[in-house]
């Protein structure tokens, strides 16, 4: 009996293209087509080789069909650890598309863009309140760029004091962007080991921190979902030696309204609006990575900054000590609108309830799973919990297999093989927007997979079985990369 629909898979744009089709009509040209400013032949192209030709209908069908090959948050739990895949409120999509925002040109004179500037100003202040920091920049396009800006500010600060220092310390459990960003800021990266509890080893830190250390990049809660309980001590150690504390705030969803980086001795940190504040991930982006700082770092913020001038808000560019621009224009404004709407929708209690629920859901999952699945670090969990495939060792089933098999149960898998300090990690972050029944269904699936692994390991190892495409040969793909479509020589 058949199982797969017999319609051939959707071809590439270039394959479904047909010469002579068009998907858009332009208004008739209402000015002379050619005049004295005619552009010389040598500047012009007479074809865009291979470029597709489709009708509007063809385009709509192509992308509608493609969309059906994706999983989505609106289809179910999307428990990617450290990614905070929460529900994206639809009203946020609507307000971000208000013509007053969506059609606003970034070069619009300030006087005509006060609504946008006010929104950015309000968001900055709200983030400062949430994080207990003195000031924010909204410019960074994502978390990684926020890290980069943050470390550049740290550098400028030390520079001002006469010595930029050489080293950035990063725990071995940190996200890859931390070292990459530190490197871009011209620093040497040194790893700090985690202790048995998965937290930064304070003694090792104390030993290491010297005049050459500029800053420690600490993720809190860390990538195990564990709160860095000794963070104050950490801050003191650093500050005593003139170093600063950077916090990677990607996991801020864990304690919004419960605690604030600013109260923990953090000097500078980024957060991800596309995580904690629910701006949609868009299949990879866009995001936004605002950076919060304490007073001491304010002079170094990227220019421009928004400042009040009577009743009008102005963009100040004259910031002599600024680290400068990190991008063009004012940042990912469309994400600011969404994040601001998200904050307004929740209010103070709602935000607090948000983190409480995220942590409750993670702990509920943990409790229901920990008897069956191996918990490498038995520490209190906040917003996420990390398991491993250790208990399945005998079966030969690995984390990757479990991830793929979850697809057959209708779930997106958790983050796998991260953090690196856990072998075969399964990093599960449910977020606050999951219902109990969805969590229970997920638990049932993981329990069933554990049983399958023992009874019929091949069923799991060959998973997924029910997806539009099954496991792909990524090795060959990387060895002989095909990164673009090329016309079939046969047809040309």
């Amino acid at each position: 009996m058949e199982t797969r629909n017999k319609r051939p898979p959707e071809g590439l744009l270039f394959e479904v293209s047909r010469p002579g089709r068009r998907g858009a009509d332009l208004p008739p040209l209402d000015v002379p087509a050619d005049g004295k400013h005619h552009l010389d032949r040598r500047f012009r192209r007479d074809d865009i080789e291979g470029f597709p030709e489709l009708s509007e209908v063809d385009v709509v069908r192509h992308y509608t069909r493609l969309s059906r090959l994706n999983y989505a948050i609106d289809l179910g739990l999307y428990p990617l650890g450290s990614c905070t895949m929460k529900y994206n409120p639809k009203i946020n999509e609507k307000v971000a598309r208000l013509p007053g925002f969506a059609d606003l040109h970034p070069q619009t004179p300030e006087e005509m863009a006060q609504g946008a500037l006010r929104l950015m100003h309000s968001l900055e202040r709200a983030l400062a309140a949430v994080c207990g920091m003195d000031r924010f920049t909204l410019q960074p396009a994502a978390g990684a760029q926020g890290e980069q800006v943050g470390i550049l500010m740290v550098r400028a600060y030390h520079q001002d004091k006469g010595n930029p220092r050489q080293v950035v310390l990063i725990p071995d459990s940190a996200h890859g962007t931390n070292p990459a960003s530190a490197h871009l800021a011209g620093y040497k990266v040194e790893q700090i080991p985690s202790n048995a509890r998965g937290c930064v080893d304070v003694e090792a830190l104390r030993k290491r921190v010297a005049e050459d250390v500029a800053v420690l990049m600490l993720t809190n809660p860390n990538t195990l979902g564990v709160f860095e309980g000794e963070i104050e001590t950490v801050a003191r150690i650093l500050h005593d030696r003139g170093a600063l504390l950077y916090m990677d705030g990607a996991n801020l969803n864990a304690f919004v309204g419960q605690a604030r980086p600013g109260d923990m001795g953090v000097d500078v940190h980024h957060l991800n609006l596309h995580k904690t504040f629910s701006t949609p991930h868009g299949g990879g982006g866009p995001g936004a990575g605002p950076v919060g700082v304490k007073k001491i770092l304010e002079p170094y913020l990227p220019a421009p900054v928004i400042e009040r001038d009577g009743d009008t808000l102005r963009l100040r560019h004259d910031r002599p000590k600024s680290v400068g621009r990190i991008r063009s224009f004012h940042g990912n404004f469309g994400m600011f609108v969404r994040a601001w709407a998200f904050i307004l929708a929740h209010g103070p209690d709602g935000l607090k309830r948000m983190s409480e629920t995220a942590v409750l859901n993670a702990n509920y999952l943990r409790k229901r799973l920990e008897k069956t699945w191996h918990l490498p670090y038995d520490e209190p969990s906040l917003h996420e919990v990390v398991f491993s495939d250790k208990n399945l060792e005998a079966t030969g089933v690995r984390t990757l297999d479990v991830a793929k098999r979850l697809m057959d149960y209708g779930f997106h898998p958790p983050t796998i093989y991260f953090p690196l300090i856990v072998k075969g990690a399964l990093m599960i972050e449910p977020t606050e927007t999951e219902s109990r029944e969805e969590l229970d269904l997920f638990v049932d699936a993981l329990m069933a997979i554990d049983a399958e692994a023992r009874q019929d390991p091949d069923l799991v190892k060959n998973a997924p079985h029910t997806t539009p495409i099954r496991r792909l040969d990524e090795t060959t793909a990387a060895r002989q990369p095909i990164l673009r479509w090329m016309p079939d020589p046969k047809n040309t």
Binding site: A33, G50, F51, V59, L75, L184, V189, G283, P348
Partner: protein
């Protein structure tokens, strides 16, 4: 019910039951691992909560505070471009499967995104005339910085040369990116017609550089002589990096790759991405095949599944931060995926003839505006070189004042260059696209004439 919020599924009862099931007696206990003295006592000082009805009203109010003239009467460019977005683009973007999904780490359930990115990479290659493209970057300026770094990875010379016709924000961003990694940034000058000067470039190149950077069309709207510059760069063993921030120009201008550019990088917002006061936008980076393993950002490649079906995967990830950490080709992780999809749908919708017609229209309208303004006595055009849809006009008085006075007439006349160049107080950068009907172009010329 304080705790029950429309975005939070759990009812009070479920909450209590789950708390118990998880082994906690009180919600506060969930945060026991946070030292008591770090626990926030008071409430957060943020507004809200608002019901959706009030939320919408509040944001409509904010949006209404942006008092701008009708889009038809706007002539702003300077790095962001006003183009019509066909309705199907946003309709398709609103498929939750596209906008609410994550980076496609799990290809079996992400083929929609992966195939779309693979198509995006191809479209960018076709437009630029180059071999490879990545899956998107943040925006134009930082993408340029990444391109310069990439060029220096392939050919380490620790030195780059920037045309002084580059968008000032791009130049500033490049300096920020390169400030502390031991790369020297030098600029070279331009010719009387407003274009980058190949001679000066050649001289500067003599001292050695991994890249020569020229914007095309440049910040002042001038179309550059890519071939000549490419020759100069090649001669000196440097890579020519062409920075672009008006992708629609590629419907009319020869593909830089075909003119000798090694890297074409920049801003693709013009491909149907909303202006949205500056972001999110779409950085793109295309290059010759030689740069493949030096590329920053994500790359999607073709692969076969166990049943032999064709599919797509994220590939060459050994370049990336999650594997290579500080040795990665870039720190970028989250990119601008949905904007890349926007651009892909936009390009697919316009298609070959649409893109070329649109570019012709843009040029014709800008040419018409220029001609109309040339007829106004007393105006000057400091950059006489050929242009695409943007040019500088020198007014009789302050351009900033002019913009404010025309605003009262419901016209947003353009970008006063004083914003970036205090010494060019009378200069106005005017951009004309398909969004500007002839009637409004005429009004612009007439009103400028009346100043």
């Amino acid at each position: 019910m304080p705790g029950v919020h429309r975005y939070l599924p759990l009812s009070e009862a479920e909450r209590a039951a789950m708390l118990r099931a998880a082994g906690f007696s009180r919600p506060e206990d969930l945060f026991a691992s946070i030292p008591e003295k770090l626990r926030l006592k008071g409430a957060l000082d943020v507004p809200g909560p608002l019901a959706e009805q009030d939320l919408l009203a509040e944001l409509q109010g904010r949006a209404a505070e942006n008092r701008v003239p009708d889009p038809r009467a706007q002539f702003l460019g300077g790095g962001a471009y006003r183009h019509y977005q066909p309705s199907i683009v946003d309709h398709l973007l609103q498929r939750t499967e596209f906008y609410s999904s994550y980076t496609p780490y799990q290809p079996e359930i992400s083929q929609g995104t992966l195939q779309a990115v693979f198509e995006f990479q191809t479209l960018i290659c076709q437009l630029t005339g180059l071999d490879i493209s990545n899956a998107s970057m943040y925006e134009g300026a930082s993408s340029l910085a990444e391109a310069i770094l990439m060029a220096d990875r392939l050919t380490p010379k620790k030195r780059t040369l920037l045309s002084d016709r580059l968008h000032p924000e791009y130049a500033r961003t490049v300096r920020t990116y390169l400030a502390h990694i031991g790369m020297e940034v030098q600029t070279f000058g331009h010719r009387a017609d407003g274009t980058a000067d190949p001679q000066q470039a050649a001289q500067a190149l003599a001292a050695g550089a991994s890249s020569l950077v020229v914007q095309h069309p440049n910040f002042f709207g001038c179309v550059e002589e890519i071939e000549t510059l490419a020759a100069a760069a090649k001669q000196a063993g440097a890579h020519l990096i062409v920075a672009m921030n008006e992708p629609i120009s590629l419907g009319l201008l020869e593909a830089p790759g075909a003119q000798g550019a090694d890297i074409v990088v920049g801003e693709a917002q013009g491909l149907g991405v909303p202006l949205s006061f500056g972001g999110p936008y779409l950085g793109f980076l295309a290059a010759r095949a030689a740069f493949m393993r030096h590329m920053p950002g994500r790359l999607v490649g073709e692969a076969k599944d166990v049943d032999g079906r064709r599919g797509y995967v994220l590939t060459l990830s050994t370049r990336e931060q999650h594997i290579r950490r500080e040795k990665a080709t870039s720190n970028i992780c989250t990119n601008e995926g949905l904007c890349a999809l926007t651009a892909s749908i936009y390009m697919a919708t316009l298609g070959k003839t649409g893109m070329m017609d649109l570019a012709r229209h843009n040029h014709a309208k800008a040419a018409y505006a220029r001609t109309r303004l040339e007829a106004v006595v007393g105006l000057q055009f400091p950059e006489p070189a050929p242009f695409f849809n943007e040019f500088v006009v020198r007014l009789k008085g302050s351009a900033t004042d002019a913009v404010h006075r025309l605003a009262e007439k419901g016209i947003l006349a353009g970008l006063p260059l004083a914003r970036y160049f205090p010494d060019r107080d009378r200069d106005l950068l005017v951009c004309v696209t398909e969004m500007n009907p002839k009637a409004e172009i005429d009004r612009l010329a007439d009103e400028i004439g009346r100043l």
